[in-house]
């Protein structure tokens, strides 16, 4: 199969330019090494390629996604939470539909298929020297994790790094061990909120847009990465714009139904763009001008 994929073509130059040559046509087999419960209905699957050559070659950019095959169920698009540097290859998935439920029924040692990585990814080199605000709602933290870890691996190259994170309840908070680790970095500020008060919770309560005020987020020389459900997304954007943030400095990653991942099936089209090849990362300015509602 590795050989067949080597023959699968992309436009000359395109994959050399980015340095990331994705697995295009056929899924490559990965082993599930370990499964961790993150939160109710959410699990993290640690994966490794069976083909050692591929394991060595496989590189990703933060913000990219893969097409993951659950054998016997189907294929789904999923964002990549690992950092591009020195991180275990894993995916974090909530059981929502047919395929993700089948995925949750698997056990360590089972196999999955992987194509990708696809998509443009979050800006990184372009935003060096600036403050970064991460605003995540619920499982919106999953795609942002990659960028957070990557930024912390280059901590000295950025200004303030602030994470604003909201979930339905305390047990829905993802990556709690990671967050403890991240907090050890100097100048990494974390604000966490849950929707409703509950016993044993002494932190913030309310929606994540309220944290923007509480954190006193900077606006100048700052870029905001926002990811979450549409309602949360809109309220956060409104608040950031109200505080004077530029539409070009608000970055998000969009989710759409995807079948091919390579810009052919068209299921992920929004206006004139395809989320799989033009996205999934867009600035708010771009999102506004796509010509269709989000």
């Amino acid at each position: 199969m590795a050989q067949a994929n080597a023959q699968a073509r992309h436009r000359p130059g395109s994959c050399q330019e980015t340095g990331v040559c994705p697995i295009v046509a056929f899924p490559e087999v990965v082993n599930i090494d370990e499964i961790r419960d993150e939160a109710p209905e959410v699990k993290t699957f640690y994966l490794s390629f069976l083909d050692p050559e591929l394991a060595a070659q496989f590189t990703l950019k933060s913000g990219q996604f893969i097409m993951c095959t659950v054998f016997g169920a189907g294929e789904f698009a999923v964002s990549l939470p690992p950092s591009p540097e020195n991180d275990r290859f894993h995916i974090t998935v909530r059981a929502v539909g047919k395929v993700t439920h089948a995925l949750h029924a698997l056990r360590p040692g089972d196999k999955l298929g992987v194509r990708g990585p696809f998509g443009n990814g979050f800006p990184f080199d372009e935003i060096k020297g600036r403050n970064i605000i991460y605003v995540a709602g619920g499982i919106g933290l999953i795609p942002l994790r990659s960028s957070i870890v990557h930024a912390l691996q280059h901590r000295e190259e950025f200004g303030r790094i602030i994470l604003l994170y909201g979930a339905r309840s305390a047990r829905d908070l993802l990556y709690q061990e990671d967050i403890v680790e991240w907090k050890k970095n100097e100048g990494f500020e974390t604000f966490i909120t849950i929707d409703r008060p509950e016993a044993g919770w002494s932190g913030h309560v309310g929606f994540v847009n309220k944290l923007i005020e509480a954190a006193g987020v900077p606006v100048d020389n700052t870029v905001a990465f926002v990811c979450g459900p549409p309602v949360m997304f809109n309220s956060v954007i409104d608040e950031l714009l109200r505080r004077g943030m530029s539409e070009h400095d608000i970055v998000s990653t969009l989710e759409r139904q995807m079948k091919c991942g390579i810009g052919k099936c068209q299921h992920c089209s929004i206006g004139r763009t395809l989320v799989c090849t033009d996205g999934p990362v867009y600035t708010y300015h771009q999102i506004k001008t796509l010509g269709e509602v989000i």
């Binding site: 295009v24 016997g72 929502v96 759409r256 299921h267 004139r272 090849t277 010509g291 269709e292």
Partner: protein, 353 residues
């Protein structure tokens, strides 16, 4: 570009010759006296070059409605999996393409082979295929290729192009592949007078186009302008959306529609297959995600999307031309009367008001 004058008998001989090495597809009446289909010719059969426009576009041959692309055997007990690629290369000849259908294939080529990624499945179908087009001397009631610059004669993209003249067929060579075929057949060269005769055929053909097509000529570009800039009232889309029955027929008969779905057959036990099936943006589930979030729920948003795809400049960049090739099939099949020509009419009515 070489030109030849070839008799009907020689054309038949060519079709039979090609059958020895290729799967030859061509127009034929099915059953005799019935509808025209562009289908695989049985051994010894020749294409009916006088047949009307086929009822289905030829994309069926290069981009089938349903196709198995992958097979895998999964053993959950042993936790083992074997994956096997399923599509294979077969040299094909598409013999007697109408220029609208030829242009449809060129659109699919540019989209599937010319963007960031190359579509491997389509490439395998297309790589060894030979395209033989046939100048259209008798447009049908709903034809509008004169408006979309895709007929009645082919201008590019063919390997061989045929035009029926009084004394045989004028054959024009369009590629090295076509030239190799011509050389092997040993045809008589044609002259300037035959090119002039072809011109007369084209002019007669254009003159016989229905009123709608002549009427629409300038308005396709006006509609494109409106689509691109978004200056179309929402009420127009609502009206069009209300007419839509969401049957998806327009997409299935459109030579340039290329959306597809990928599904793994369910309840497959250990032996599973992955199918690629054509899809239509008019279906409600088209953009719906797991968890039921559907960014394109109202039917008018989905209709808007289809015509945006066919007519806007930004989409046209993918095809290097408008996404409509003027075959008129959507107009035939649409039970709600919102085929592309009618939508152009609605936009026209609004903008002239």
């Amino acid at each position: 570009m070489s030109i030849y004058l070839v008799s009907s008998e020689e054309i038949k001989a060519l079709a039979l010759d090609l059958q020895k090495t290729h799967e030859v597809y061509g127009p034929q009446l099915k059953p005799p006296g019935g509808q025209v289909f562009f289908d695989l010719l049985a051994a010894g059969e020749v294409p009916d070059l006088d047949a009307a426009i086929p009822s289905m576009p030829v994309k069926e041959i290069l981009f089938p409605q349903m196709e198995r692309i992958l097979k895998y055997r999964y053993d959950p007990e042993a936790q083992q999996v074997e994956i096997e690629k399923q599509y294979a290369e077969k040299p094909k000849v598409l013999f007697g393409l109408r220029p609208c259908d030829l242009n449809g294939i060129l659109c699919l080529d540019r989209f599937f082979l010319g963007q960031e990624f190359v579509d491997d499945v389509y490439l395998v179908h297309r790589r060894q295929s030979i395209l033989i087009s046939n100048t259209c001397s008798a447009p049908w009631d709903q034809c509008l290729c004169v408006c979309t610059h895709s007929g009645p004669a082919a201008e590019e993209g063919f390997d061989l192009d045929l035009t029926r003249l009084d004394d045989g067929y004028l054959v024009q060579v369009g590629s090295a592949k076509g030239q190799a075929i011509a050389d092997a057949q040993g045809w008589q060269p044609a002259g300037e007078e035959h090119l002039a005769a072809k011109k007369a055929v084209i002019e007669r053909s254009i003159a016989s186009f229905p009123e709608l097509a002549k009427d629409n000529k300038a308005w396709i570009s006006r509609a494109m302008n409106r689509m691109t800039t978004g200056f179309i009232k929402h009420e127009i889309w609502e009206y069009i959306g209300n007419q839509c029955l969401e049957c998806g027929a327009c997409a299935f008969v459109c030579p340039t529609c290329s959306c597809f779905n990928i599904e793994d057959a369910q309840q497959c036990g250990g032996d599973c297959e992955r199918l690629r099936t054509r899809d239509s943006c008019s279906f409600e589930g088209y953009a719906r995600m797991a968890g039921d979030h559907n960014p394109r729920k109202p039917v008018e948003d989905r209709r808007n999307k289809r015509f945006f795809c066919k007519l806007s400049y930004s989409q046209s960049k993918k095809y290097l031309r408008p996404g409509c090739v003027g075959c008129g099939r959507c107009q035939w099949v649409c039970p709600g009367d919102i085929g592309l020509p009618n939508v152009v009419q609605y936009i026209r009515r609004e903008t002239s008001a």
